[in-house]
Symmetry: C2
Subunit: 203 residues, 2 copies
């Protein structure tokens, strides 16, 4: 699933005013082999013309369409601590069609406060809010203890996409997609690679 | 690199007081095939005795050792906005030996403030701080524009492990490990899978 990465690089090229790019140039920039690039991009309908390179804007828009970032998606954030607020504050998501419609928490002290104009609400109104605002994606940034029961409520309310930051795996029906961001595991992967490298050096 | 996931599950089993577990039980819990589990764990020195299952505590400690979480690692956070603060506030990292020693920012309004007792400092003292506190890992949670130059400073100061949350790829020497957490790309993967699933349903 390298498409989001292509999308990021193509976006940067567009910002730099680059109109066409060869697989060789893209390869040097992304540190992926040119043949891998040709293979990846040919899967998606032959964007490149032999000898002319890729049309950056066309490729960017086509990949954007495949990734679904040409549409608007309404997103809610459940858990309005630092991590939830960091996501709400990241305005770049909105440029890609991900609109943060609401934030939720269980802590009454947060109710009515706003982050970038987005109100923090009580969990009581969760189901109504999802229905009224046509919410499709929910980001879970609360502690893992509550995550499974909240996921069940979301699924019952019709949510089909969960962005899960809680440190636990969720059990959901087959037609619901879950994308996990397990930060502890990411930090342990870093630590593992760091320790292996250190052992190499000591040899 | 499934070890961090095993580590998390084994930690949960330990908390539940489970002393031994068979590859079949672990398989059902982790949704990985039993043969995959045997293969993964046999790579690390035959923790399981045929017919007796795995000793949970032993396996947890051995995997912890391989992941380097039996040691202390000093970590700094560069970028003290919501995301940096979310990481600083996540006390679980400390239980795994990742000690947040310092936080840095370029915004003078933040200098001297503390998050969970960790002071936010000016970037001016970065190199001295790294040396004096034996810092090994740096988490980058600042905007992508500054990330490459900060990474260069870190590498020059001897940092060998970068946990990169900035939405850009970093160029570092071969002996420096970088673990990327690109949240935009994660959200696009979710959106892609969500849109594909929706198209399936409409067929």
């Amino acid at each position: 699933m390298r498409l989001p990465r292509y999308y990021r690089y193509l976006g940067e090229l567009l910002e730099e005013g680059v109109e066409r790019i060869s697989s060789g140039e893209l390869s040097a920039r992304m540190k992926v082999t040119a043949s891998q690039i040709r293979q990846d991009l040919n899967n998606f309908g032959g964007f490149g013309q032999q000898g002319y390179g890729y049309n950056v804007k066309y490729l960017y828009e086509e990949i954007g369409r495949i990734l679904g970032v040409d549409r608007k998606h309404h997103l809610i954030i459940i858990g309005s601590g630092n991590l939830g607020q960091a996501i709400a504050n990241y305005a770049n998501f909105e440029r890609r069609g991900f609109i943060v419609s609401g934030m939720f928490d269980v802590n009454p002290a947060l109710f009515g406060r706003s982050v970038r104009g987005i109100e923090i609400r009580s969990m009581d109104g969760l189901e109504d809010f999802i229905r009224e605002h046509d919410v499709q994606i929910a980001a879970l940034t609360m502690p893992k203890t509550y995550a499974p029961q909240v996921a069940d409520r979301l699924v019952a309310a019709g949510i089909k996409a969960i962005w899960n930051f809680a440190h636990t795996d969720l059990t959901v029906p087959e037609d619901v997609v879950v994308e996990n961001v397990h930060l502890s595991e990411s930090l342990m992967r870093l630590s593992y690679r760091f320790c292996s490298m250190q052992e190499e050096r000591e040899k």
